[in-house]
């Protein structure tokens, strides 16, 4: 019995690392965008688009890392589109996000159709479990380099937001657009750039989905990960480092179902599949408040008003 529990825990550890990576990239991208005072709900579409582009580019060039780059570029394009549309007066960023989500998913399915069948080269993982004899632990510690890239991005982002001139500009734009304008900062330009970079990161998150885990391209690849990552930023209170912790928590929740399956528990498969959504909802309920806006929330966010 304790063996079974250990197996599940090890599988959950491995699952948490694998499943959390796309969450992490999307959450970091959204965190940066929201720090500048804008919400991009369209990252679900960006994630799917990134997954498709990465797979296609990897298939054609034979290099999965070129696929990751291509996914980032495609994500930047969608981010720039969202950013420039929302720069126009009277345009609602939440509604544009919904439209971009439908548009991005539609485009990805449209161009992704020929890539469902063929196999593209995938990203290699680093076998960090070489020291152990335990087969389960070995497979759990097959960590993709993108996981570490994500952690580095989080640390750099946290440092840059706090300590650099650029970070100050982004935070000022996010907390008070009039103050930023008084300083001679172009609010729309800053938001366009943060949304574009946010789109790049979300695209890279999508590349992980198709090139590492689950590691193939199909239309059911992402169902709501991009959206949950947006909710996760609220939970992480707009801190890149806390986004990493939150992503790991979500990864573990997402790994419950497959982990239980690995020891033969198949009952409630669909229930455990729904676990991340339910966890997101519970976390949103627990961390929101009807009477005051969330702690550390950028003052310009449309959600805050």
């Amino acid at each position: 019995m304790s063996d079974a529990i250990l197996t599940v825990l090890i599988a959950m550890l491995g699952g948490a690392i694998r499943v959390s990576t796309p969450f992490m990239f999307v959450a970091l991208g959204e965190c940066l965008t929201e720090k500048s005072g804008r919400v991009n709900l369209g990252l679900e579409g960006t994630l799917v688009m990134g997954a498709m582009v990465a797979y296609a580019a990897s298939y054609h060039t034979g290099s999965p890392w070129l696929g990751v780059l291509a996914a980032g570029v495609a994500g930047s394009a969608l981010g720039a589109m969202h950013g420039s549309i929302c720069g126009l007066p009277k345009v609602n960023d939440v509604a544009v996000g919904i439209a971009m989500m439908l548009f991005g998913v539609g485009l990805a399915f449209f161009f992704g159709k020929p890539y469902i069948q063929p196999t593209a080269p995938r990203l290699d993982s680093i076998p960090l479990g070489f020291w152990s004899d335990n087969v389960n632990l070995k497979s759990a510690l097959q960590v993709n380099p993108l996981f570490f890239v994500g952690i580095v991005v989080a640390l750099v982002l946290a440092w840059a937001l706090r300590n650099t001139r650029w970070g100050l500009v982004v935070r000022t734009v996010g907390d008070s657009a009039p103050a930023a304008r008084a300083m001679g900062i172009s609010v729309n330009l800053v938001r366009l750039l943060t949304t574009t970079v946010g789109g790049f990161l979300a695209g890279v998150g999508g590349a992980f989905l198709s090139l590492s885990y689950p590691g193939s391209w199909n239309q059911g690849l992402s169902s709501g990960q991009g959206l949950m990552a947006v909710a996760l930023v609220i939970f992480a209170r707009w801190s890149p480092v806390r986004c990493v912790y939150a992503a790991l928590l979500f990864g573990a929740a997402g790994a419950i179902g497959p982990s239980l399956q690995s020891i033969g528990v198949t009952q409630g498969y669909y229930f455990f599949n729904a676990a991340p959504y339910i966890l997101t909802l519970i976390i949103m309920i627990a961390t929101s408040s009807a009477t005051h806006s969330a702690r550390d929330m950028p003052g310009e966010l449309s959600m805050a008003k």
């Binding site: 919904i98 971009m100 929101s288 009807a290």
Partner: protein, 380 residues
């Protein structure tokens, strides 16, 4: 407004003539001002269509063929047009599920989940009743069940918005994923019809429990109920104190609170009405089209409904024509796929493009002096 103090009137009101002539010019003025809300969405559709034509040309397909297949597949013949009307029924209902919360200031996008769960609940309720109750009793019970379950599902998002300040856009979409997972859980488990090995489904309702067609047509009753609900909900919003209070809340939340309006009840009520509409769409999908509940319920009507509602500017009376337009595009999707060799996501790309351009066009309001009343034209 007649007993409002004279000081509250604006300068332009005082310069207007009085009497029947005033009524006429007032009517002309309203036409001029309101035509902006027709012209700009039409312009947005035209621009999106032009962009989509360029997209088709870029991938080597003919936009002319595309339009002719939409016409043939969606509108050209009596058969295809009735198919279109049939497909527009769930779009009307899921668009209402977006429009009603939108009027109270919420962007609620959980129609797909309420549709799926509502349809599933109706099918589950029907199973023990088959052969016991006559269809005239059972069908209204199933419809009521679908509306209650759908209303509850979206109502939860509204309640969380009011009671806990949870962002309703994210929570309603999360609830959609949860709703689809709940249906799959039962359809592939406890409630699966084992005699149907091809696709996990509930037991079939049987012919007796199927909703019939509107007499003289090939269109099921869901379309008629959709139109009826559009009219009823328009009257509710525009001609009742409930609707007035809801619109005040949507216009200025703090003012509504200060006036002592029951904001929480209004928000939850509007959300429940919205979910009930989408749930009813699920009932008709099960009882008029599919005959059982399965994964086909999540066909994306809830998402197209969002676009329909935004194009109709959340006005229930404008929803039916817009829904019919998109019902036609959806209905022609298969023909386009087969004849032009385009992927099934083509319609999704077109819808996404229209949606993005439409929201971009919001920035045009108030920029054209042709839509402004003469007195306001000289103002900057």
């Amino acid at each position: 407004m007649s007993d409002a103090p004279a000081t509250a009137k604006s300068a332009s009101d005082l310069t207007q003539p009085v009497g029947p002539e005033a009524a006429r010019s007032d009517w002309a003025l309203r036409l001029r001002v309101n035509s902006e809300y027709v012209a700009i969405p039409l312009l947005a559709i035209a621009i999106a269509a032009a962009l989509f034509a360029l997209f088709l040309l870029a991938i080597g397909k003919s936009p002319v063929d595309f339009v002719s297949y939409i016409w043939r597949g969606g509108f050209g013949t009596a058969f295809s047009f009735q198919n279109t009307l049939q497909r527009s029924a769930p779009l009307i209902l899921t668009a209402l599920a977006v429009a009603i919360p939108a009027r109270i200031g919420l962007i609620m996008i959980g129609g797909e989940g309420a549709l799926v769960l509502g349809g599933f609940a109706a099918a589950v309720l029907a199973i023990p009743m088959i052969g016991v109750l006559p269809p005239l009793v059972a069908l209204p019970l199933m419809a009521a069940m679908a509306m209650i379950v759908g209303g509850f599902w979206v109502g939860v998002a509204g309640f969380l918005r009011y009671a806990r300040g949870v962002n309703e856009t994210i929570s309603s979409l999360l609830l959609t994923y949860i709703g689809i997972a709940i249906m799959n859980f039962f359809v592939e488990g406890a409630l699966r019809d084992l005699s149907n090995p091809n696709k996990p489904s509930t037991r079939p309702l049987g012919d007796a429990y199927m909703v019939g067609k509107i007499p003289g047509t090939d269109v099921h009753w869901g379309f008629a109920f959709g139109i009826l609900l559009c009219i009823l909900l328009y009257l509710l919003l525009e001609r009742t104190t409930f609707g007035f209070a809801a619109r005040v809340t949507g216009g200025n939340y703090r003012a509504a609170l200060a006036q002592g309006l029951p904001v929480g009840k209004l928000i939850v009520a509007c959300s429940c009405i919205a979910g009930a509409c989408a749930g009813l769409a699920g009932f008709f999908e099960v009882a008029a089209i599919q005959g059982r509940a399965n994964a086909s319920l999540a066909a994306g009507y809830g998402f197209t409904g969002i676009l329909v509602s935004f194009l109709a500017r959340h006005n229930p009376l404008v929803i039916p024509p817009v829904a019919i337009l998109f019902g036609g595009i959806v209905a022609a999707g298969g023909l386009i796929q087969r004849r032009m060799g385009l992927p099934d996501a083509t319609v999704q790309v077109l819808e996404g493009l229209i949606f993005v351009v439409l929201l971009t066009s919001e920035t045009l309001y108030g920029r054209f002096s042709i839509f402004k009343p003469p007195a306001a034209r000289d103002r900057p």
